[in-house]
Every structure is written in C-alpha cells, then in structure tokens.
C-alpha cells in the first residue's frame, strides 16, 4: 500500500510541481494517473520511488516512511519504467540489459538465467535476446525497459506512458501481462495520456492538473466527465463523445451507453434505431 500525506515538491528555480498531494493506493490496485503535460504525474511517481524527495509531506510504502531508504533499496519494492526508453537502456544486447539489475543485486547465476529467460519469453522478446537494443523499434525498446524492471520482481510497478508507440496487439499483451502481475498480487500504476486505453482497461483513475489531484474515482465516471477532462487538456474518449451527442436528442435521451464493452454498447444502440 502507498500512502501519501500532504506532499509538495518544488524543482529548483521553477514553479511548484506538486501541491499538497494526499493519496492512497491499496495493494493489488490498478490505477491510472492522467493529466496534461506538466501536470505533475511523473514528478509524483518519482517521489514514490525516491528518485525525487519531496520538500514537505510524507510517503509511506507498506506503512514505512520511504525517506530513510535509498533509491536502490526502494527499486526492489517499487519498479519504475521510464517514458523514454532511450534514457533507460544502455547494454549491448537485450539479454544483458535484463541481466544488469539482477547482477547488481547478487542473484545466483542460475537464478539470473532463469528469470531472464522467463521474462523475455513473457514479453515476447526472446527472439531478440542477442540483438542490440538500439536496433529495435520504439515499441520493442519499451518492452526491453519493462523487462529489465520486471525481472527484479517489485511489488509495485509504475509505468510511465507504456502505450506510446504500441499497436493494439501490444496493448493487449500489456493488459494480459498486467492481469498476470495483478494475480501475483502486484500493484500497478500507469501514467498516461491515452484516454481511450484508460477508459477501456483501467478501473481507477486519478486526474492531475497543475500539480494537484483534481479528481479520483472509477474510470467510467471520470472519463465521461468533460468538465474534469477539460481542466487538464484531456479529451473525451470516442464513445463518450458519441453518447453525449446522442443523449442530447429526444430519441436517445434515455440511452445509457455502457462503454466497458463495445458489443454491449452496440446492442443498446440498436434498441434506439
């Protein structure tokens, strides 16, 4: 469980990036943090894994104040996959990239080998194990960065914009992977602009704007709320736009528009036409 109390953060010479954040994310939860560029999403995530230390307030992970732990210590507990994988990847082969973290934590050779193979297969990267990561496509590089974090088996995983450059097949893999990780008891936090992805898959959404949390709730309520989204440069998902226009007419005024499944949506739509 992550508990955040009154956290504020300032970058040197810059405006305040986080203002009095209070937030609780339970174990095994799957949450999305949404908001405009510069809203403070990544800053908040970096405070959670100790990369940034807030000037005021307190962050607890499983009841323990993280200010007394180093980033390295926290990295076994909370894994962070960066938005730009070029900032994270540096090894000469995909396999070496994944092994790097494990070696630093003194795992046995057999354990390193086993975990690396498993994770590469899981992420559909096994055929690239000897490839130089920089020769991979943008989407593939993102998966390498994810693999190198997952192999440390952290309880909490933060993914910064994991859907950028991924086609819908890869997004489905990502969702399957997240389902597996949740079955293993892990907490997943996704930072994203991808409102279509969020409305389809993420159950709880936290919306940030201008360094504050401006909304927090179930995704079907948040992603239909134009007022909230507008405040932070987000737009309604396609089906929400459609529902909104239809409902403004007499014919469709009672239309419900359940978006969790497109076929349900269609079946309801058919009753009105």
């Amino acid at each position: 469980m992550i508990e955040i109390y009154d956290v504020s953060f300032y970058y040197p010479n810059k405006n305040i990036a986080l203002k009095n954040i209070n937030l609780r994310i339970n174990s095994k939860e799957f949450v999305g943090i949404l908001g405009e560029n510069g809203a403070g999403k990544t800053t908040l995530a970096k405070c959670m894994n100790g990369l940034l230390r807030p000037q005021s307030g307190k962050i607890l992970i499983d009841g323990e104040d993280i200010s007394k732990y180093s980033v390295a210590q926290l990295s076994k507990k909370i894994g962070f996959v960066f938005q730009n994988s070029d900032h994270q990847i540096f090894a000469q082969s995909v396999e070496e990239e994944v092994k790097f973290g494990l070696k630093n934590f003194n795992f046995t050779k057999e354990e390193i080998h086993k975990r690396t193979e498993e994770i590469l297969k899981n992420l559909n990267l096994f055929q690239y194990r000897n490839t130089i990561p920089f020769d991979l496509s943008g989407g593939e590089k993102k998966r390498v960065a994810l693999a190198s974090v997952l192999c440390l088996n952290p309880d909490i995983l933060i993914l910064d914009e994991p859907t950028i450059g991924q086609d819908s097949q890869q997004k489905k893999y990502l969702i399957n992977l997240i389902d597996d990780l949740r079955d293993q008891g892990k907490t997943i936090i996704i930072i994203t602009h991808d409102i279509e992805f969020a409305s389809e898959y993420i159950p709880r959404i936290i919306v940030m704007g201008n360094g504050r949390i401006i909304a927090d709730g179930p995704s079907n309520i948040i992603t239909n709320n134009e007022f909230i989204l507008e405040r932070t440069n987000l737009i309604l998902p396609q089906l929400s736009v459609l529902t909104k226009i239809l409902k403004s007419s007499d014919k469709f005024k009672d239309f419900n528009g359940d978006q969790t499944d497109i076929l349900n949506y269609y079946n309801e739509l058919r009753r009105y036409i």
Binding site: G165, Q170, L234, L242, Y266
Partner: protein, 281 residues
C-alpha cells in the same frame, strides 16, 4: 503527379543482414497527399521513411536493393543534405532534434549551413514563426518550452527549408490529447493551405483519420494495403494485424452487417452521431 516513387525496395540493417526489414516495396505517392502510414510495432514503418530522405543507405548502412526516387533524384546518387531541401523528417521526441540556445537561432541553423544570406534567413525565419504562430517564443530557449511548443519549433525548423514533403514519425505521442489535436490540425493546415505532401505515422488512428487522404498499411516489411482513407479503414485486415480501429468505424461495421446503411463511413464520433440521428424512426 507523383513526387515519391519507390521501386522494388528491400532493406536489411548491416547489424542483422539476414533479417530483411523491408521486402520488395513498390509505392508511388502523389504531390499534395496526406498519407497515414500505419502498421504494427516493428513492421518497418520508421525504416521505410528513413529511406525517403537518404538516411538509408547513406547514414544507416545495410543491404539495399531497388530505387527510391524523390522528384527526379535517386536517393543513392545524392548525399543526405541534398534531400533535406525536399524532404523534412520529424521524430517523436523534439528534444532529440533541438540544439540551439533560442528559437530564432534554432530556425536559422539549417539555413546558415546552406550558406543562405542573412537577410534571406531573417525573412524566412519571420515567415515560419508566423505560419506556426510562435512569434511570442522567438527568444526563448527550446528546453524551457512545453512539449507542444517544442514540437512546433521542431516543425518550424523543418519548414525554414521549405521542403515539399514532410514526414512525421508519431509527432504527437508525447503530447496530451489537446496538445496533440492542435499539432495535428497544424499539420493538416500545412497540407491544405501550403500544399505540402505529408506522410504521418500514428497508432492512434482515431486522431488522424479526419485529415488523411490516403492510408498505407504495412505488416512484416511489406505494404499490404493502400488506398483512400474511407476504403482502407473498413478493411478487416487492419484488425487482424493488431491496429486499433476507431470505435466509430467498429460501430459502422456492426451497423452495416445488420443492414443499416449510413450515407458515409464515419471517421469521427461526431459524424456517426449525425448519421444515427438521421436514421429513420
């Protein structure tokens, strides 16, 4: 009139010479088109566009077969800088592209390299600042700008050379949705008002459909489909190769299967809503 003509193009990077990334591509692109280039991750989209300004084979070496002809120039016969006057290429991450201390210098950079006289440079920079509506950030440092502004500066720096073709590799994926829509509208404006030929790679089809005149679909190094936006977007193959089909198109296809005929293929939810409201009853 075609401005790009690709004949029997195949390519493998020298680091992995047995893996062909592009396989016998044949393609003609006409002046003034707005092309949406799509396909699953790793299908060769970025490699293909790097062939269009000579980065391949001059900068990235490998096994290169076939011909890429821009205007009347074969990319193999001229150096890369020759093509930067015809083809502008813009990547996802503007940070990787911006080098100067302020926006004005950034925009002058390429022109100075081409030995253009200072009066002409000043005039072109002024024009471009106006086109992109960024006159207010002329003296700002690129790294102090927001992601959306940086992307505008990166586009502006390409416009200074006035290339006929501008290629965008996921230009908005790091921007929030409102920022992304603004940049896409701007790109559409370059196409409509300034008659630029646009090639754009984007996974979020729903954001681009309204602007694209044609779609080219790639899979596994080949072009598997190409044609008018309305014709390609309803092809079942797109779903099979794992592209995210916009919800308005999915609903259109379901409606069609059940015998409802809409006047046109809805490229936006607004279009679909209008058609649905007009359906009888």
């Amino acid at each position: 009139m075609e401005i790009i003509n690709i004949k029997n193009l195949s390519f493998a990077y020298s680091s992995n010479p047995t893996k062909m990334i592009l396989k016998d591509i044949n393609l003609k692109i006409n002046r003034g088109e707005f092309i949406l280039l799509c396909g699953p991750t790793g299908c060769g989209k970025t490699t293909l566009i790097e062939c269009l300004n000579g980065l391949i084979p001059h900068f990235h070496s490998g096994i290169f077969e076939g011909h890429v002809i821009i205007g009347d120039k074969d990319t193999r016969d001229y150096p890369v800088h020759e093509f930067s006057k015809y083809v502008g290429l813009l990547f996802q991450n503007p940070e990787n592209q911006l080098v100067s201390m302020n926006v004005e210098k950034e925009l002058s950079f390429a022109l100075e390299n081409f030995g253009i006289n200072p009066i002409e440079i000043k005039a072109r920079v002024n024009d471009v600042l106006k086109i992109m509506n960024i006159e207010n950030i002329r003296y700002k440092a690129p790294y102090d700008l927001s992601g959306g502004q940086q992307q505008k500066v990166a586009i502006a720096s390409i416009l200074t050379l006035d290339p006929e073709i501008i290629i965008f590799d996921e230009p908005t994926s790091n921007l929030d949705p409102v920022g992304a829509m603004k940049i896409l509208a701007l790109i559409s404006d370059l196409n409509k008002r300034y008659k630029k030929t646009i090639i754009l790679i984007e996974h979020r089809l729903e954001m681009v459909l309204r602007y694209a005149t044609k779609i080219i679909v790639m899979n596994d190094g080949k072009i598997i489909s190409k044609g008018k936006t309305e014709e390609i977007i309803i092809e079942d193959i797109l779903e099979k190769i794992g592209l995210r089909i916009p919800k308005s198109v999915i609903l259109y296809k379901l409606l069609k299967k059940d015998g409802y005929n809409l006047e046109n293929i809805p490229l936006t939810p607004e279009d679909l809503a209008n058609y649905l409201l007009k359906l009888g009853g």
